[in-house]
């Protein structure tokens, strides 16, 4: 439930009504940024936010995203190493 997608804030369109332009792969839509406007609105420019029904609901934490990806990467490496070891074992077994 609750389709949300990441979009980048590219312009403030109506500061008074907390409206900004979000860009999703080249598709633009004006969104309300009330939920993510803590500091000056200009700080939002360039930031990625999770967009849902025309509202920017949450700023995306790039550090956390990187951490998740790193964990996936590490897991991949580990699995690969394991796989290579397994292959090595199999080869050894085969040779045996």
């Amino acid at each position: 439930m609750c389709l949300g997608i990441p979009g980048q804030i590219v312009a403030i369109t109506d500061a008074g009504r907390l409206m900004a332009m979000a860009d999703v792969s080249g598709v633009r839509r004006e969104v309300n940024v009330a939920c993510v406007a803590e500091g000056p609105l200009e700080d939002l420019l360039g930031r990625w936010a999770l967009i849902h029904v025309g509202f920017a609901m949450s700023l995306i934490d790039e550090e956390e995203a990187a951490k998740t990806l790193a964990a996936l990467h590490d897991l991949g490496e580990a699995q690969e190493a394991l796989a290579q070891m397994a292959e090595g074992d199999a080869a050894l077994e085969g040779r045996a």
């Binding site: 439930m1 009330a34 025309g54 949450s58 951490k67 998740t68 699995q79 394991l82």
Partner: protein, 378 residues
Amino acid sequence: MKFASEFRDPKAAKALLAEIAQLADRIGATREKPVAIMEICGGHTHSIFRYGLDKLVHEGVEFVHGPGCPVCVLPRARVDECIEIAEKSGVIFTTFGDAMRVPGSKRSLLQAKAAGADIRMVYSPLDALELARRNPEREVVFFGLGFETTTPSTALAIQQAAREGLANFSVFCNHITVPEPIKALLDDPDMRLDGFIGPGHVSMVIGVHPYDFIARDYHKPIVVAGFEPTDLLQSVMMVLRQIAEGRAEVENQYARVVPEHGNAVSLAAIADVYEKRPSFEWRGLGEIDASGLRIRPAYRAFDAEEKFGVGYAGVRTELADPEGCACGAVMTGRMKPVQCPQFGRGCTPEMPLGALMVSSEGACAAYWQYGGARAAAE
């Protein structure tokens, strides 16, 4: 970084699937005796089928599709009430596209529109507000539908309407909450679930702590998850790891979007505009205590229930679910869609009997569309 495609990496998926397989083997999960993990959220159900994850994971991992699709749990009587409002003279009834095809007792909104009601699909409650501004002589009603993810948007729209003194805008509030039905599920003695995938976008608003009771009181693991395929696989892995390690915790796989305590502005808007209803009716599940929201008296002017005397403010109709419909059992994970006697017979996407067959979030529709059923039947 686009925060989407990066989380669809087949290499990472491969690693995750391997890890899941190892963990599943480690805890002894088999096809006959699987680990049952409920993805609460319909969005997760959608992703699982779209990427074929159910076929990819270890056969000892079983996805149980939960009640987290606001369209699927909408009682037929509420659809009837939508139509009742929409057919009133002067009303423009606005709704997300999702609700258009949901069957009421006689007609869907799509059919009511065809029969003459002025029903319009919008992408955002802001678009409904704008319609109200542009049509001052009409009454614009927005169908407020959804869980905590969507609730802030209608709360903010109502606040904005109040600021502008927009007298011709109101919301037919059918917002519901996630924790209560989960609790109801867990309290069901027939229930056997080993863990949960938590709805990431709900937690983006409410944070992760509202699920503490699941770990604390029911000793089940729950991982709040994102919607990309590696998000889901990673979350499955994290649930299995908790099980393997004998833990039951609330974990957050989706930390890039979900702050631990949610979004303060959203929560404040919800608290300002809405209050809990004593009880609310769910399709297939019946009345669940404190599971629905209503508009506070301070914003009564924007409450379509009050304005039109329908819903909980009107004479409520009790409508049993259509005969032979197993939606309740499917939503609570007691039955697979294909086990419903109506699946593919009385109930197809062309002519849905239950809402689970309508919404592409619905488990039955997902089974149908992504071939779970027909592929299995071969």
